[in-house]
């Protein structure tokens, strides 16, 4: 059963079709939510609530649209909302570019050990970003959304998305610590 078939069945009231969608997308959704919230139980709660909201409002979902991007965008918005009221909100550093730098280095890591070390540093760097900036990183690099799609999803001008991403890139070189690329 593909997504559009599952949606059609869900609109016909077949709850079993919801299970299909949950089993198919929960893992990616939880990972997306975790990258933003940095909190596993909260990420699970957010994804659970997003599935339930989607079920409630399935009548308004356009079957012609792809389900996965729709659902993951909902998860991202739900994360933003959850973090606003969560005591665990962290925002120490605006430096989005550090994450990009680490991603770039992790991409060319030559050993699994080195890769794992970079991944730990990426997680740490992500935690120092504001939630909205984590959303930008997740949307651009994990969900692989275009700047135009991000602009629509976040309801911010395209220029702001460009500013967030380009500003980070210009700092990239300066932020590469000594010895980081000395392989």
């Amino acid at each position: 059963m593909d997504d559009s078939h599952a949606i059609r069945r869900l609109k016909r009231g077949e709850v079993g079709a919801l299970e299909t969608l949950v089993l198919r997308y929960q893992e990616k959704a939880i990972r997306t939510a975790f990258l933003i919230t940095q909190d596993e139980p909260l990420a699970q709660d957010v994804v659970q609530e997003t599935f339930i909201q989607m079920y409630r409002h399935i009548g308004q979902f356009d079957e012609a649209c792809a389900f996965e991007p729709y659902f993951l965008r909902s998860v991202v918005n739900a994360c933003l909302n959850a973090l606003k009221t969560s005591a665990k909100q962290i925002s120490l550093d605006d430096d989005l570019s550090q994450v990009e730098s680490l991603l770039s280095q992790a991409a060319s890591a030559e050993t699994e050990v080195e890769g794992r070390q970079f991944r730990a540093e990426i997680l740490s760097a992500l935690s120092r970003l504001k939630p909205r900036q984590r959303v930008v990183v997740v949307q651009r690099y994990y969900l692989e959304m275009s700047e135009k799609e991000m602009s629509a999803a976040l309801d911010i001008p395209a220029g702001t998305v460009k500013w967030l991403l380009n500003g980070a890139r210009t700092k990239l070189r300066a932020l590469l610590g000594p010895g980081r690329r000395a392989k």
């Binding site: 593909d2 939880i30 990972r31 659970q48 079920y55 409002h57 012609a64 991409a107 890591a109 890769g115």
Partner: protein, 491 residues
């Protein structure tokens, strides 16, 4: 080491940090499920007797309205008046121009239905469309004991009877949600609303609403607060239409059982600004070797215009029956205000197997480690029993399987296209591997329908077949008659 994409790295960042694989389905299922009516019957013999009487009366075929002893509450089902508690009085709060009103609360022994209205939402802050809505937290009913229950199934709809939100205007919405496992003696509770559904961004609308609710035993006229149920004598006035695809020598795939009632309308529930129509369908049986497939329902008004409808949840009680358990039962909800009469059309496709042992096989290299969502653009044309089909893509559905749990999946999607309207479906198999499950989306729509010409087969396995695989297509089924039955209903 192979250069990894940023997506793969972030995926590993998350998976490194997450403890195993979560299965959210049991938690989600618990929130969307409702107490079964049969469970109510087992614990409430009085209700069983009343219902038996009701069924007896319905058999007379005479339309009548149910009296005060029973009423229908969406999400709860049919209830006895005597067991009910209701809201003592409406509760309303206004903050920053937004007004939340709890209009109605109906509680029986374990379930509650809360109806609330939210007004004063300006269009620049209120976007009632997913995924722009940022309010995802659900309401809670909190009790003095410190316990709470989260809202379960329900609906949200625009105010003033509209079926679709007008996003350029704003306004508000009305929602009806059920809560299960309510303390039977609860006289007071607080409805906690963490955020307003449809909020464009977090905090843009007032949040953390707390509305104190007081419940009292339902007065004798409580039936007035419920939706009257009208039983209708099954109609015998049908128009039947049959279309046959352009295929040579279509055999008869229908065995007429002599049924004079292929579809019936048996109940109409006056659900506020809409109607819930309930009935049964008995399409003539397919031939012994054939099969029958429900295609869809189409509703049109007296001017021939399509009427939008929604299907109530499959587990909603309709006099002890649910669509989940009873495949003959159907129900649709339509807004009032359509130009009468309403025409209800049920489309049903009969299919039949081709008398041929023809198969088509080809080799497909999935590689040693197919990734989740990995797509192979195959675009392979082939013929099966003389019918042309194109395999467009194969997609891996591969997340780690934990044996003995519903977690993980190992399977492949096969997507096909055909310009041949006769092709309905066929069997897909991978030589040497026994699938755990096979699901089909057949090509059963009428020519011209947007989904016509597309077929999907989905196979899952205990472990994903990898490497060079021999894929075999066989057992072609062709489309036979597309029958539709149209029934007329006058409110």
């Amino acid at each position: 080491m192979k250069q990894k994409s940023y997506r793969e790295i972030l995926d590993s960042v998350a998976s490194d940090s997450l403890e195993g694989q979560a299965d959210l389905w049991p938690r989600i299922a618990a929130q969307v499920e409702r107490k079964s009516f049969m469970k109510t019957l087992r614990t409430r013999p009085l209700m069983a007797i009343v219902l038996a009487l009701l069924i007896l009366l319905a058999l007379t075929g005479v339309a009548y309205a149910i009296g005060k002893s029973l009423g229908y509450i969406p999400g709860i089902g049919m209830v006895e008046t005597s067991s009910l508690r209701v809201l003592a009085e409406q509760v309303s709060q206004t903050r920053d121009g937004v007004t939340v009103t709890v209009e109605k609360a109906i509680l029986n022994a374990d379930n509650a239905l809360i109806v609330l209205k939210v007004e004063g939402l300006s269009h620049d802050k209120f976007v009632p469309l997913e995924p722009l809505n940022t309010c995802i937290s659900t309401e809670e009913l909190r009790f003095l004991s410190g316990g709470y229950v989260k809202s379960g199934s329900g609906t949200t709809k625009p105010l003033n009877g509209a079926m679709v939100f007008d996003t350029s205007v704003g306004g508000g919405f009305e929602s009806s949600y059920t809560y299960t496992h309510i303390p039977s003696d609860a006289a007071d509770a607080t409805l906690f609303i963490p955020c307003i559904w449809g909020a464009l961004s977090p905090g843009i609308l007032p949040e953390n609403w707390e509305l104190p609710l007081h419940f009292v035993p339902a007065p004798p006229d409580a039936a007035l607060t419920m939706m009257p149920v009208t039983e209708i004598a099954p109609s015998t006035n049908f128009q039947t239409a049959t279309t046959v695809p352009n295929v040579e020598s279509t055999p008869s795939s229908v065995v007429n059982t002599g049924s004079t009632k292929p579809i019936t309308l048996t109940q109409v529930i006056e659900a506020g600004d809409s109607y819930i129509l309930v009935g049964e369908d008995y399409p003539p049986a397919p031939s012994q070797s054939g099969d029958g497939q429900l295609v869809d329902w189409i509703l049109t008004d007296g001017n021939g215009e399509k009427v939008d409808y929604q299907v109530p949840p499959a587990d909603m009680d309709f006099g002890g029956r649910t669509m989940l358990a009873d495949k003959k039962l159907w129900a649709v909800q339509v807004a009032r205000g359509f130009a009468p009469p309403l025409h209800i059309t049920h489309r049903y496709r009969y299919v039949f197997p081709v008398d041929s042992q023809d198969t088509y096989g080809f080799e497909f290299d999935a590689g040693a480690n197919p990734q989740q969502d990995q797509v192979w653009n195959v675009n392979q044309e082939f013929q099966l029993a003389g019918h042309q089909v194109r395999l467009t893509t194969i997609t891996a559905d591969n997340t780690p399987v934990i044996t003995g749990t519903p977690i993980g999946v190992a399977g492949y999607w096969f997507r096909f296209e055909t310009d041949d309207p006769a092709v309905n479906s066929f069997t897909v198999s991978i030589d040497g591997y026994i699938p755990k499950k096979q699901q089909s989306t057949p090509n059963n729509f009428a020519e011209g329908d947007s989904l016509a010409g597309q077929l999907v087969e989905y196979l899952t396995y205990p472990e994903l077949p990898t490497g060079k695989l021999k894929v075999i297509f066989s057992n072609l089924f062709l489309n036979g008659e597309l029958r539709s039955w149209t029934m007329e209903w006058q409110p």
